[in-house]
């Protein structure tokens, strides 16, 4: 019984994620909750989908944290995005047959694999859900553009502050709040691989941000302490996250 309740709560993160960017009717929410999902519990640093792989399912993050990445020829990892509970990491698989990047867990993560067939059927029956997923994909693009600017033109401190602000807001949008003690499960190597920095640079910046009381940082997690100060440090404007149902209407 406890497991069932938890699963329902975790599936609700998908609803919360979509409702943070779109309006859903009761019937649409029920249809999403009724999707067939194969649940898998994965260890940290597990590859969910490999670059070049074909898949017949979409991966919903139920709890934990994941990333999309490419592996370079020398073995180094380049993280291209982070994913919170409620994110479907590979909606593009509904249209693009072959993956062009890998997806992996950062911490112990539970995923829900949803058959493409079931999603196609759902999207045909509910045009508003199609619109919500399309909007999610477009926002994905906006986030990539913001990352391009962040990595291409900001200092190490600004980059890290900006990333922490973005992930804090995205987590709060799905009910994972700093006020409830939630900490971003990002290690220094994860931040380094995402922002094109070395772990040494990341360590220095986190030390500096802690010294300014903008964040608290442990070995593998970070949390904002001074939210307004952190936003200023990262030149963060959340507009690109489009976290507004009103905007979607």
């Amino acid at each position: 019984m406890v497991t069932t309740v938890h699963l329902l709560l975790e599936r609700h993160r998908l609803i919360r994620k979509l409702e943070s960017i779109a309006l859903l009717s009761h019937a649409e929410k029920q249809a999403l909750l009724a999707l067939p999902v194969t649940v898998e519990a994965l260890d940290a640093n597990t590859t969910i989908a490999r670059d070049g792989q074909r898949s017949r399912t979409c991966c919903l993050i139920l709890n934990g944290f994941a990333c999309r990445f490419k592996s370079l020829s020398d073995g180094r990892r380049r993280i291209m995005s982070f994913h919170t509970p409620g994110d479907i990491t590979d909606l593009q698989g509904l249209s693009l047959n072959v993956g062009d990047h890998s997806v992996g867990t950062l911490v112990p993560t539970t995923i829900g694999l949803i058959p493409h067939e079931s999603l196609h059927e759902l999207l045909q029956r509910y045009p508003s859900i199609t619109a919500a997923f399309w909007r999610d994909t477009l926002i994905d693009g906006a986030i990539f553009r913001a990352w391009l600017v962040n990595i291409g033109r900001r200092t190490a401190q600004q980059r890290i502050a900006h990333l922490l602000c973005e992930m804090t807001m995205r987590c709060e949008a799905v009910g994972l709040s700093r006020d409830d003690g939630y900490r971003l499960p990002l290690g220094q190597s994860d931040i380094a691989d995402a922002l094109g920095l070395s772990p040494v640079q990341v360590n220095r910046v986190l030390y500096e941000l802690e010294g300014c009381s903008l964040i608290t940082s442990h070995d593998s997690s970070v949390a904002a302490l001074d939210w307004e100060g952190l936003k200023r440090a990262g030149e963060f404007d959340p507009a690109y996250l489009h976290l507004s149902q009103e905007e979607a209407a």
């Binding site: 180094r76 094109g196 070395s198 040494v200 640079q201 360590n203 220095r204 030390y207 500096e208």
Partner: protein
Amino acid sequence: MTVTLQSVAIDTDCPDEEGCLMFANERLVAALVRLSDHHGDKAGYWYLEHGFGRLGGPYHPVFLDLDAAQDWAVQRLVDVRRN
């Protein structure tokens, strides 16, 4: 190839400031910094703060000591000259 090292203080805007400039044939090829205590198990290691020419780029390795840093640098510099 003649490699020489010169101790120097480097302003990294953090406690890491013990530095070393590496020259190859009297040309500056790298600036390294010794990692201070706040780098945990990497404290005392030498970090490639900035490389020049063949040692430049996005890769910033960490070395156990300056001998290891020198070996790494020479290998990369010599390989270029062979090509």
